[in-house]
Structures are given as C-alpha cells and as structure tokens.
C-alpha cells in the first residue's frame, strides 16, 4: 500500500482558503447515486429524471449496476446528467464486495473482472473521473476494509435506501476513523434510489460551481467544493483566529467533529428542561493541526456534513 496517503487528497479542502463556502459561484443540488430498470431499479431512466426534475434538483447521476445508462437517451428537463456506473468487486474482511460508484464514465462498460479489491478499484478508476465507495455500514465494511484499498475520492456518509431499507445508511464511524488515520476522504449523501419502496429525496449534495454545466460540476466535486445533506442547509463556514463560524438553516445542534479521540464540540447544550431553541449560527472553538469537519443536526435527526478541514498553526 502506498505510504503517501495524500495522493488523492491534494485537491481536498484542507485549508480555510479552499473552503467551498468561500468560493465564488452558485450552489447546485444533486443526487449522485440511483438505479433504473436498466439494472435493479423499478423506474425507467426517464421516469427517474422526471421525478428529480419535478423536485427542483439541478443535476443527477444515473448509476446502474455494471452498465452505463446513456444520459443522451433521456430528456433532462434542464438538469445536468452525469454519466455513472455502480461497479462491484473485491472482498472485504467478512467476504462482502465493495460497491464503487463511478462518475464521468464515457463509454460502455461491463462487469469488472478483478482478482483483488485493489484491482477492482483500479479498474473502476480507469473508467471514470470520480469514484466513491457506497454504503459502508450496509456492506459491513469497516474502516480497516476502507483503508485496505486506495484511490477513491470519497465514501457515502449517508445512503437513503440503506437507511430506510434496514437502518444501515449512516457511515460516520468509518469516515471518522479514516480521518483519524490521516486518510483524507470526502463524504457524499445519496439516495441510491431503487424505487421498490420510498427511497428518494433523502440524501443529496450541494455543489458550488461557477455555473450549471457538466465540466464545472465535475471539477467542483473532484475538488471537494460541496457538502452533503439529508435535510439542513449550511449557508456559511468562516474561519477566524480561534473560532469557526457556522451559519445554517434552523437546527438543534452544530458540531465540530474532530479526528481525535474524545475531542469535539457542539452547541447542543440547550437542554435545560423545556424546548431547545433552534440554532441558525454558531461559533465553535477551532482546532489546529487536527483534521475536523462540521456537522449540523435538525430536530428530526436529519444532518448536513461538510468535507474535512485542517488548519495549520
């Protein structure tokens, strides 16, 4: 395994200067993972696009299993359609496969033919520009399984169909363990909609890009200029000396989550008897030389997650 854990992280928002909230541009909302009748989804490609367009999404990735659904074949209703595929291959510690979502796939593909997990990831990368690992908790993949392969840009911190399906949609523990090990990883929230039951509109990303077009969106995602959400909005994150200032939609808590055991801070301490007032801005004590991230949680338990930061002292 490469000793250089920074290889895929050189474009990560490590420093306050590379903060998507400070970047010029606009925010665009999209779902990066879903299935159609071209694999195991219940809706046709056009029907899935119709649904998300009606809900006001700006972009969508159709990511059928082991095959490319060509965006040219559907009417995007003004949304940008990102060509994608969900590949599977390799084996984790308990023998289960890695599912890898690949974005920017520009040609027909087939099932991978890989002897090892790393080979499966390498083959996935060869077909695409951006790769993220799907639903670690649902797949029973631990942080160790995620460290055993390299070359992916992110993981799914939240997956709607896995959460509403069997309560295994959240993967923050794996993510925080990776960050503590210094493996800088971005985090996506997705639907992974199959439409067998209600598994849409649960998780999305907000991407900051100059305008709504393919190249700009892909570059922004690759560089981490996005945040993930299953409900709340994060409107601003500003770094100043010893504080991190956060502005968001009304939430029950704002947390600075630190990649170090026992460290962290929330502004959730408003539980004295009665109702908690909701928070729309918070100043959290900053940390230096440690990777951290910001997470907000609303009254229903829905969250939004920034990508990781690190401030050097």
């Amino acid at each position: 395994m490469s000793a250089d854990n920074q290889t895929h992280a050189t474009n990560m928002p490590l420093l306050p200067e590379r903060n998507p909230f400070a970047e010029p541009g606009e925010w665009f909302k999209g779902n990066l993972h879903l299935h159609t009748t071209n694999s195991d989804g219940d809706y046709s490609p056009q029907a899935t696009v119709d649904l998300y367009a009606q809900e006001g999404y700006d972009f969508l990735a159709i990511t059928d299993h082991n095959r490319l659904t060509d965006p040219e074949d559907v009417d995007g209703h003004g949304m940008v359609l990102l060509p994608g595929v969900e590949f599977d291959g390799g084996r984790g510690e308990l023998g289960q496969t890695y599912h890898m979502v690949a974005l920017g796939v520009q040609h027909e593909v087939q099932r991978l033919d890989a002897a090892t997990s790393q080979e499966a990831l390498d083959q996935t990368r060869s077909h695409s520009e951006i790769v993220f690992l799907a639903h670690p908790y649902w797949s029973s993949l631990t942080a160790e399984d995620l460290m055993a392969v390299e070359g992916y840009d992110g993981i799914e911190v939240f997956n709607t169909t896995c959460e509403r399906g069997i309560g295994r949609g959240h993967s923050e523990p794996q993510w925080d363990n990776l960050l503590t090990k210094g493996r800088l990883t971005m985090a996506m929230a997705v639907d992974d909609a199959h439409f067998h039951y209600w598994d849409t509109l649960g998780g999305w990303v907000w991407v900051k890009a100059p305008r709504l077009e393919y190249r700009g969106l892909m570059d922004s995602i690759k560089r981490g200029f996005f945040y993930a959400s299953s409900g709340p909005e994060i409107n601003n994150v500003v770094f100043a000396d010893d504080t991190v200032h956060v502005e968001c939609s009304p939430v029950a808590s704002v947390a600075l989550v630190v990649a170090s055991p026992g460290k962290g801070w929330t502004t959730d301490r408003l539980r004295d008897g009665g109702d908690r007032p909701l928070i729309t801005e918070a100043n959290l004590p900053s940390v230096h030389d440690l990777i951290f991230r910001i997470e907000v949680t609303d009254e229903r338990g829905n969250r939004a997650w920034t990508n990781p930061y690190k401030i050097k002292s």
Binding site: Y137, I166, P173, N177, W198, G264, D268, N302
Partner: protein
C-alpha cells in the same frame, strides 16, 4: 435465547453510568438520586472515575441505588484510553488492579461479580481491533447521551454491529454519563425486566440480556414465533429488523411506496427471519431517538 418481553416481572428504568462530586460530577450523590427520582427512574448506579462511591446514608426514596465504577486503561489503537464501566460492586477497587492492562482490569471486575461494558466506543474512536482485542466483557454502550450531546459521537450502534457480525454476541447498554455541567441526564437508559427490586436481581438481568436500551421510545411488547415478529411500542417513525450480515434486514418503510410515509407506528408485524438466525430490532422516533433490543434468535417460540 429468551428475551425480556417473554419473561415475567416488571420493568425498571435505570441509569448505569453516572458521575458525582466523588469524581468529576457536579452534583452530590444525594442530588443525583433526587434528579433521577424526579425523572421517574427506578434505579441508579454511581460510576465515578477509578473510585467506588457507596450509597450508604442516602435517602433512596424508593429507588434501588448501588455502586459501580468507571476505570480508564491505556492502550487503544489511536493512543487514548479504554473506559470500562463496571456495575455492581460491593467494595473499593482492589489495590493491585492493573490499570495498565484493559484486559486484566476487565477480568478483575468480572471476578468481583460486576457487569462490565466498554464506554462510548465512538467517542473514544475505538477501532475494530480495539473492540475485538478485548474479551470477557458483557457489552458496549450503544448510546452515551452525554457524549452525543457534547460531540455527536455518542451512538455506537455500528460498533455493536461490527462485534455481532464477528460472532461476539455482546449486549448494548444506553447511558447518560452524566457529569451535571449542563442537563446531561435522562437521555439514555436501560429498561430491565426483573421480578425483584434489588441490585442483585438487576445485575443478573444486565449480565444475561434481560433488558433493552433506549434514548426515547418504549418497546411495550415483543412476540417472536416461527412466522412473524410482533412489536408494540410508543409512536415511532421506523422499525428496523437488523441481521448481522451485509445487506440483510427488514424495515417498516417497505410498507411505503410513496410519501408521506412518516405516519407513526405503534404496532407492527414483521416476517420472522429464518430459524436459527440472530437478529435485533431498532426503533426510531420522529426526532431520531432510538431504542435497541439485544440479540434474539429466530425460531425459539415464546412461551409465557
């Protein structure tokens, strides 16, 4: 595998991980008893840091009040300490307790008759290796409300799954870890099924899975037979039947094709897993608060 809803007795609500002025808590033992009594609890265990706090001389007001401890031992993969909670101690810690070894500490506390569980795995950023490398403990804290409020690292449901998937059938305890610097209590508790209101009976139930954990919902009734699992509970938004295998499980959301799906459930029948299959149930209310059963094995018909 019997489960607490198939047993006779009453339900006792309790706080298992609590600090007082005897270590770094900001309330005295009596004030702690009063606070939990006023919240409707039935029992409280004092678990001060590295020190056993007794219940003598306290006005228990009808609650069962007894002693335990929280011991810290070095040696985690990320270089921090394991916090081990022991519930049910009659005397002070032995002087020769080897706190340099988490395993030796667990073994010692077990020999003293206590229920032993690992505190806040997520807050401690414990790895799979950390959890699998220790043995002889009864379980882990699936919810540490204090850690959840402080750092959003209080829910260790997934750490529990890691263990269960590797055939470590440990129990899941929900606690407060109250220190009383803010209102960090009554956020996580256990509901113990017992025929006797005594510390001995409570410890026995905690050691054998005769309880469930919660941060909000109440599981009133559970019946398991060869075809179905029947559940009755306080109003929840989702019920998950989770099997410790990748991608396996069942959910109340399967009943919804379209939103609005968030009606409140108070009873549900689910298809039973195959005979011999181990499973657990997690319910989640409209505010994201959960309750967890311990592991149940399908195929053993309930007998009352």
């Amino acid at each position: 595998m019997k489960h607490p809803w198939s047993m006779s007795g009453e339900w006792l609500k309790g706080a298992l991980h609590v600090h007082t002025t005897e270590s770094d808590g900001r309330r005295t033992p009596q004030e702690v008893v009063d606070a939990y009594k006023d919240c409707g609890y039935d029992f409280v265990v004092f678990t001060d840091h590295n020190k056993v706090t007794g219940a003598e001389g306290l006005e228990t007001r009808g609650m069962v009040v007894f002693s335990g401890v929280e011991v810290s031992c070095q040696g985690t993969e990320f270089g921090s300490s394991f916090h081990l909670v022991a519930v049910g101690l009659d005397g002070p810690l032995p002087e020769d307790l080897d706190r340099d070894s988490a395993q030796a500490t667990i073994d010692c506390l077990r020999n003293l008759g206590a229920v032993v569980f690992i505190a806040h795995p997520y807050w401690s950023l414990l790895t799979l290796g950390d959890l699998m490398g220790l043995h002889n403990y009864h379980g882990i804290e699936v919810l540490n409300a204090g850690c959840e409020w402080e750092t959003r690292h209080g829910d260790s449901s997934q750490h529990w799954s890691w263990l269960m998937e590797r055939d470590r059938e440990v129990f899941a305890y929900a606690v407060d870890d109250s220190h009383w610097g803010f209102a960090d209590f009554a956020g996580g508790w256990v509901m113990v099924r017992t025929g006797e209101r005594s510390s001995v009976a409570i410890v026995k139930a905690l050691a054998s899975g005769g309880f469930y954990s919660s941060g909000g919902p109440t599981i009133e009734e559970l019946r398991v037979d060869s075809e179905t699992v029947y559940l009755r509970c306080s109003p929840v938004a989702a019920v998950y039947l989770i099997m410790p295998r990748a991608g396996r499980g069942w959910t109340s959301h399967r009943l919804c094709k379209q939103p609005p799906c968030e009606r409140e459930l108070i009873e549900l029948e689910m298809p039973a897993p195959p005979e011999g299959q181990c499973f657990r149930i997690e319910v989640v209310d409209g505010q994201g608060r959960k309750a967890w059963t311990n592991a149940i094995r399908a195929g053993e018909v309930d007998v009352r």
